[in-house]
Amino acid sequence: MALLELDNVKTHFFTTAGVVKAVDGVSYSVEEGETVAVVGESGSGKSVTAMTILRLIPWPPGKIVDGKIMFNGQNLLDLSEDEIRDVRGRDIGMIFQEPMTSLNPVLTVGLQLTESMTAHLGISEDEAMARAEILLDKVGIAEPKRRLSQYPHNLSGGMRQRVMIAMALACDPKLIIADEPTTALDVTIQAQIMELMKNLTRELGVAMIIITHNLGVVARYADRVNVMYAGKIIESGTAKNIYHNPKHPYTLALLKSVPRMDKTRAEKLDPVDGQPPDLTELDAGCSFRPRCRYVTEQCANSFPDLKQVGGEHFSACFNIDKLKKEVAEAVR
């Protein structure tokens, strides 16, 4: 049984402008110890999906309106407020994008690190501090003892993100959700942090969901990939399948939009025209169809189901056959 299983999860925001279907029927699973990526552009619903798992959607205006989130054999959506608080930070750790804003500026690093341990593990503050020191050392922070009494502003961006990782790992979680963990960081620091996260999750056998828009990071670190567009997963599969044999026009377009650093420039980029749709104005048809080059009449009638198109490879598109030729050319 999978560690985490999302089944037809829907999170909608009820705003004055209309109902924003930020997450609209998302299903995916995470096996124990594996790294799963959720990729997509701004507004595709990837972060809201993560917030939904931990039930961090503020009401009003947001509400999880449908679906099941099975974690460790229990449906997280059925838990009471107290019960879900036990899951947050203990069974599921979270790493946010902005290490500057996600740490409390007026509390010391030590206090923030130990807070979840004293709350969840029932250990004393001294024990927690000792453990925090070990954790900081583990995430590669020099002089951990001195750092414990410092404040976030004393640390660089990379170090703050290391502290965030230490916090996420503090209670031996089974799953870590990392929401754009390296987007705010420079490339050399990004590489350090991603490498650290990979090594720690492998060593401790922790599963991880990486939410990112960076296709390079996904290629380097993820076992499986879910591509999101306008609140839905439109393609999912192993990293190799997604990158070498994309079966959805949007995935293909994404791959053709990214310039390559490892190759001499051969031709101009070939991005899709237009921009992502307004999430309040979605109709029954495929949300990608206004930008799609393979659009047919069928696309306006209903949203295609996520169908299996190969071993461990699913795509939500009616016109997969039409894609084939272009894919052969695109996979360079």
């Binding site: 552009e41 350090q192 650093m261 992502p276």
Partner: protein, 344 residues
């Protein structure tokens, strides 16, 4: 091989920087120090942030020079010095023979018609209270190049179209537009003066992948159509490789390497450039599997108190004793390929 490729091949073989020979901007010994002061009534300079510390490079007419580096390396400050949004501490910036640093107010007004800038953040670089049409018309109004209101409006609409926006956008406000559309407005505004040189400061960094690709293509088309020269400041190495003819790498206020684009990416010489290229993940899981992931240690030191000798030595994998005391010379190792490292 088509003609263009053949021509490019020849140029590369001749070693002259990607085929551009007329120098447009010649930066010599550029330094920009920001003072840190203490005391409110009588401020006393207690230290200096050496944001840019001795740069020498040229930008050729018609080329796109990429300027890459991590946060705080001084790439944006360099751009701002050329625009004279900062008054450089020392050095010369010769633009068509005139030193921008020494220009008086009148000369600067003339200069600013020839040099324009596109900023990173399309949200904060457009005045939220002005209509898009007025934003684009303002430089023409300020510089009095088109005085008739009707003519100006015609040109605004033309510029919008050139940048891929419908004329109707002239009557909208920035908040009614998406990030990509706003960035196009920023580009249209830069083009309003018919400039010959545009500094793109992280011009596509804030955009999503598919929108970013659209704007990259637009910048390319405009470059060809209006014979523009770009200084393309970016931290995104993939975009730089795609768009630039030559690339300069900066670290802590210094230029560590400068070469033709393919040469720099295929044959990097400076240990920092190597580390930087190695840190960038490539969107191909098969390549990533076989790639060596040598991660550079440590973080960028503070530019207030940069390391003595070579500024990169505390993180350098090939450091020798001499690096701690003697700053390396930025020298030409092969034609057109400059590097600042004593061990190369």
């Amino acid at each position: 091989m088509n003609e263009v490729q053949a021509a490019e091949g020849q140029v590369r073989a001749s070693g002259s920087s990607a085929g551009f020979s007329d120098v447009l901007v010649d930066v010599r010994g550029l330094k920009m120090y920001f003072p840190i002061t203490e005391g409110i009534m009588i401020p006393k300079v207690v230290a200096q942030v050496k944001a840019v510390d001795g740069l020498d490079f040229k930008i050729f007419k018609g080329e796109t020079l990429g300027l890459v580096g991590e946060s705080g390396c001084g790439k944006t400050t360099t751009g701002r010095c050329i625009l004279r949004l900062e008054k450089a501490t020392a050095g010369e910036i010769l633009y068509g023979g005139t030193d921008i640093i020494k220009c008086d107010r009148e000369q600067m007004v003339e200069m600013r018609q020839r040099i324009q800038v596109i900023f990173q953040d399309p949200y904060s670089s457009l005045n939220p209270r002005m209509k898009v049409g007025d934003i684009i018309a303002e430089p023409m109004y300020v510089h009095k190049i088109i005085t008739g209101e009707a003519e100006r409006q015609t040109r605004v609409r033309h510029l919008l179209n050139v940048c891929g926006l419908a004329s109707a956008f002239a009557d909208r406000y920035p908040h009614e537009m998406s990030g990509g559309q706003r960035q196009r407005v920023g580009i249209a505004r830069a083009l309003a003066m018919n400039p010959e040189f545009i500094i793109c400061d992280e011009a596509v960094s804030a955009l999503d992948v598919s929108i970013q690709a659209q704007v990259i293509n637009l910048l390319e088309d405009l470059r060809d159509e209006f014979n523009l020269t770009y200084l393309f400041i970016s931290h995104d190495l993939s975009v730089v490789r795609h768009l630039c003819h030559r690339v300069a790498v900066m670290y802590l206020g210094h230029m560590v390497e400068l070469a033709d684009c393919d040469e720099l990416f295929d044959n990097p010489l400076h240990p920092y450039t190597k580390a930087l290229l190695n840190s960038v993940p490539i969107p191909d899981p098969e390549i990533e599997k076989t790639r060596e992931h040598q991660i550079i240690k440590g973080e960028i030191p503070s530019p207030i108190n940069p390391p003595p000798g070579c500024v990169f030595h505390p993180r350098c994998p090939i450091m020798v004793d001499g690096c701690m005391s003697k700053a390396p010379v930025f020298r030409e190792v092969t034609p057109g390929h400059f590097v600042a490292c004593s061990e190369v």
